[in-house]
């Protein structure tokens, strides 16, 4: 890895030298840069496509949301409270006790009904 970084440093330096006013220096710098690229990645294409992604500045023309960097409030979990019942609602919800089942008095039933229920 350190070797790679020094190769990259040299490549950057050579590319910087291509801006020189001296034509010979520019030519030498380009040749050296090509040597470095060969060492680093094999070719310019492999170097650029394999190691670099060019993304446009996403903030150009993008408004910034309004913020004042407040601290987050403390979290207070509400303690569950029993739901208060009014007198009226108690009255509404009161359940009337179910009447006790009364014994059937078969003596009151007509004889025909009794015979029908017995299937006779």
């Amino acid at each position: 890895m350190p070797q790679k970084n020094s190769d990259l440093d040299l490549l950057i330096k050579m590319l910087g030298m291509t801006g020189s006013d001296n034509e010979n220096q520019v030519l030498i710098a380009i040749r050296k840069a090509n040597e470095q690229v060969k060492k680093l990645a094999g070719s310019w294409e492999q170097l650029l496509r394999g190691h670099f992604t060019i993304a446009a500045d996403p903030f150009t023309g993008l408004d910034m949301p309004t913020t004042t960097f407040k601290q987050a409030p403390a979290f207070h979990q509400p303690t569950p409270q029993p739901t208060p019942q009014s007198r009226q609602s108690q009255a509404w919800t009161r359940v009337k006790p179910a009447p006790k089942p009364r014994k059937q008095d078969i003596s009151q039933k007509p004889v025909k009904d009794i015979l029908d229920s017995l299937g006779l």
Binding site: F59, D63, M64, P65, T67, F69, K70, Q71, A72
Partner: protein
């Protein structure tokens, strides 16, 4: 870059930086404790893995000035567990794109060598004022191009549609069952530590997405 990007606690050009963007919308109240617990688990795991990083926890929801509610912003060695001192939120809606916009600006200003951003939400975008889907995606694409790791977690929520729209690959987004949030965040922390030390990309495997997502469907590639 606007000076309102608050970086007062952070030395510029940090080597390692973490940011957790937490949805503070109303529906998150149901899973708030599990989520806070899972973030504590993340920090604890980073400590075990001996990664020294600055961690900022930002909670976002709609309403005036609620887009960046700072819950923590400190080195992990100074982290106060969230369950000990729990941050809250006004619990309104989910302006996800605006939150991404601000996060990107902070990162641009800091320009850390390695950064990991985890976005945790239990719903889709709802309420951004200035940022569109395209703009939010552009910010995330730019972060990814910088080599920073961005992970999208659906808290008890299948986030595959949001993930796809925002350019997340299957390996960097998953829905996580509420009960498994801590396990998922521990797993992410291990990946984060490896990324911090070696540059290895933080990716979920198919098995992990199935494990953490369970009944939630992980996004498809």
């Amino acid at each position: 870059m606007n000076d309102l990007v608050n970086l007062s606690n952070i030395a510029l050009r940090k080597t390692q930086y973490d940011e957790i963007i937490l949805d503070g919308s109303g529906s998150m109240q149901r899973q708030w404790w599990d989520t806070l617990k899972s973030i504590d688990a993340y920090v604890e795991t980073l400590g075990w893995d001996q990664l020294d990083t600055q961690l900022r926890l930002s909670i976002f929801t709609t309403g005036h000035d609620n887009i960046d509610l700072i819950a923590r912003d400190c080195p992990i060695s100074q982290w106060v567990p969230l369950l000990k001192d729990p941050p809250g939120s006004p619990f309104l809606r989910t302006p996800l794109y605006d939150a991404i916009n601000l996060m990107g600006r902070r990162l641009a200003k800091l320009d850390p060598e390695r950064a990991a951003v985890t976005i945790a939400s239990d719903g889709e975008e709802n309420g951004s004022m200035v940022t569109s889907l395209t703009q939010a995606r552009a910010v995330l694409d730019w972060c990814r191009a910088k080599g920073w790791q961005v992970t999208l977690l659906g808290v008890d929520f299948n986030n595959s549609m949001t993930a796809e729209a925002l350019g997340f690959g299957a390996q960097s987004a998953t829905g996580v069952q509420r009960a498994l949030m801590s396990d998922a965040m521990q797993s992410i922390a291990h990946k984060r530590a490896r990324y911090g030390k070696t540059g290895e990309q933080m990716h979920f495997s198919d098995d992990e997405r199935t494990q953490f997502g369970g009944y939630l469907n992980a996004p498809k590639e």
